[in-house]
């Protein structure tokens, strides 16, 4: 059996509210399928499954808020269900048996995830074969108390008419929730940003470096490449920047890391790319294995992810797992940006606008398009020398764009 748990969609996420199940028990799922919609401070997120199998049990009721790590569902690996696929008629006859198994199993799960229930309430629930893991506690610290169990028992034995009434109401409520939260309130995003940034500023001693990079060659290469491409496939400087950051991280892996009381270098290079929202606030989708992708693939990713980020239409996996962050101001704004590291990452790379400047090169002052690249680093994890090597690597890669 595979336990499907409430995923963490960022260091600041402590809990999530299950808004809707997209699958029901018996449904077959494969890696990448959307199992549920979960409401977080970052908005309504589609939660993916990373295993193949058949949904055995859904342990959470819709509308319930649970901490990260709470088991939400049980998935049976594929091998165990072949019989049922072959003999669909057998399913119904087996069902009563299964439903008897389920409470026993779930109560074991409960032990593991420490549902808060008073001894008395637990005793009453067990005596009545009630699966208390789905009951909402109203006691101290949210514990399930006798009253809650009695209420659940009364509802369980109540007339079916009443039950119907309940579910209808619940459905309505969920629809409302979805409407309301599809675009999470600006305040919630602000709160999430505030929490992450305050934590960073409180805990991370930053160091800051900046480097001026001559973009003449890079822009020439872009112009040349784009001239042979249809408009919708044209590459923007941002894609090239992301690729150069990824390649530089291959050279200087110490910055593609987490700080967990020691420097833990990550194998995958997953780049978080800050997308500003028009209504204020930011979301940071993650480009997985950026070093293995071509500039063209990165551009495709940007074309896809930016509009979806702005409409809050992101999957859970697209928001989590970043190992480093890029903040890119784009054209016409400030010259440079000094970011705040997003914990537990150890570095954030800031890209300013590209602007023409007088620049001395080989004894000649000329007008060159210049990019200010900055690096904010966690000084617990690395020192200025490492950061300096990274910026030098960026320069090297951007002088040789065709190699990217």
């Amino acid at each position: 059996m595979i336990e499907f748990k409430m995923p963490s969609l960022g260091a600041d996420m402590e809990d999530g509210t299950l808004v809707e199940w997209r699958k029901k028990p018996g449904d077959q799922v494969k890696r990448g399928d959307i199992l549920a919609d979960v409401d977080t401070q970052k908005g309504l997120i589609e939660i993916e499954v990373f295993d193949e199998g058949v949904i055995d049990t859904l342990l959470l009721e819709e509308g319930v808020k649970v901490p990260v790590g709470t088991i939400m569902a049980i998935i049976r690996p594929l091998g165990e269900v072949t019989e049922e696929k072959d003999i669909p008629s057998a399913i119904s006859s087996e069902e009563p048996e299964k439903s008897e198994e389920v409470p026993a199993k779930t109560s074991e799960e409960k032990e593991e995830r420490r549902v808060k229930i008073t001894p008395l309430a637990k005793r009453i629930a067990l005596e009545n074969n009630l699966d208390y893991s789905v009951i909402n506690g109203t006691g101290p610290e949210g514990a399930i108390v006798k009253k809650d169990v009695e209420k659940a028992l009364a509802e369980a034995v109540g007339p079916s008419k009443e039950m119907g009434g309940f579910t209808e109401k619940a459905d309505e409520a969920i629809v409302e929730v979805k409407k309301e939260h599809k675009t999470p309130p600006i305040k919630a995003i602000r709160t999430a940003v505030a929490a992450a940034m305050s934590k960073s500023n409180r805990e991370i001693p930053h160091y800051y470096l900046e480097k001026k990079i001559d973009m003449t060659r890079a822009l020439e290469w872009l112009t040349e490449t784009n001239s042979g491409l249809p408009v919708q496939k044209r590459i923007l400087p941002a894609a090239l920047f992301i690729k150069s950051v990824a390649s530089s991280l291959v050279d200087v892996p110490e910055l593609n890391a987490e700080w967990e009381d020691e420097l833990v270098i990550k194998n995958e290079i997953n780049i978080g790319f800050v997308v500003s929202l028009r209504s204020g606030g930011i979301v940071v989708p993650s480009l997985k294995n950026a070093d293995l992708k071509s500039v063209g693939e990165i551009m495709e990713w940007l074309n896809d992810i930016i509009p979806r980020s702005r409409s809050f239409n992101l999957r859970s996996s697209e928001l989590s797992g970043s190992t480093v962050t890029i903040t890119n101001l784009g054209e016409g704004g400030a010259d440079k940006v000094f970011g705040i590291v997003y914990p537990p990452q150890v570095a954030i790379i800031g890209l300013g606008s590209v602007a023409e400047e007088p620049f001395a090169k080989k004894g000649m002052v000329g007008i060159h398009p210049m990019l200010y690249v900055t690096l904010s680093g966690d000084h617990r994890a690395t020192d200025g020398l490492v950061g300096s090597r990274f910026l030098a690597a960026m320069d090297k890669h951007l002088q040789n764009p065709q190699a990217l």
Partner: protein, 327 residues
Amino acid sequence: MEMVKMTYREALKQGIREALLNDERVFLMGEDVGHYGGAFAVSKGLLQEFGAERIMDVPLSESGFVGAGIGAAMAGMKPIVEVMTVNFSLLAMDQIINNAATLLHMSGGQLNVPLVIRMGCGIGRQLAAQHSHSWEPYFAHVPGLVVLSAGTHEDARGMLLTALKSPDPVILFEYTFMLNMEKEIASDAGAMDITKAKVRRDGKDITLITYGNGVYKSLEAAEELSSQGIEVEVIDLRILRPMDEETFLASVAKTHRALVVEDAWRSGGMAAEVFSRIIEKVFFELDAPLQRLCGVEVPIPYPRHLEEASVPQSQDIVSTIRKMMGL
């Protein structure tokens, strides 16, 4: 039943007087109990009524006169030894624990010690850190002692009479805070049982277990909570050793919640013992975490407002119970 109004002091005095009248082996010894009439005027007039052989002033030597009391008890007398307050009992601790509590065992069952030691106890009269102790838990720790706590006027009136019938040494805690407090008790009040805790008020929502100074404060809180729809069952432990657990276990099994209120310091207090028994015996009846309101773990301060703040007051009880009830 005819009721009379009486101070706690008067109830204590009537108890001692009745004991002296009942049995001529009974005598009272202690510092200033005779000519001065007792440090708290509890034995005022008894010297004149019963004479110097039965109302005996002793030197300021707790170890000495408690030891003398033990000897008298072993020799067949029924001594009431007054250690003025629990604060001075430390000086007599060796006699109490190593002799009074142990001699039955050490003598192979040949020598029992039918002694009653009375002590004023607790805070509430601005006597500062050295003279405000609540040490019931110290004594309740010792096997071989019977430890009583007179938290009401009827127990002040009647516990001594029964204690004198005990074949084993009895520590009787009286509360100086209550001496001037007037309450109604039955005009024919007499000897009280010393084996069972008492339900002082019936309730169905929560069990409040207390003793000593906590009893009246708890009843006051229960009255206020009743007007808010919460019915508190107040249990007066009365006997701290050997503790009557049946009474409070039955109550907790009914209400599923328990709060202990006591003036004694929190760590290792009576609450800890009561909770251990609840968890050992009726764990599956509990519907809320156990809570206790105890003395704050500081030397008891002298200023009145700080002294009051150092032990639970009835308003603390009210707010704690409201929280426990989820209000």
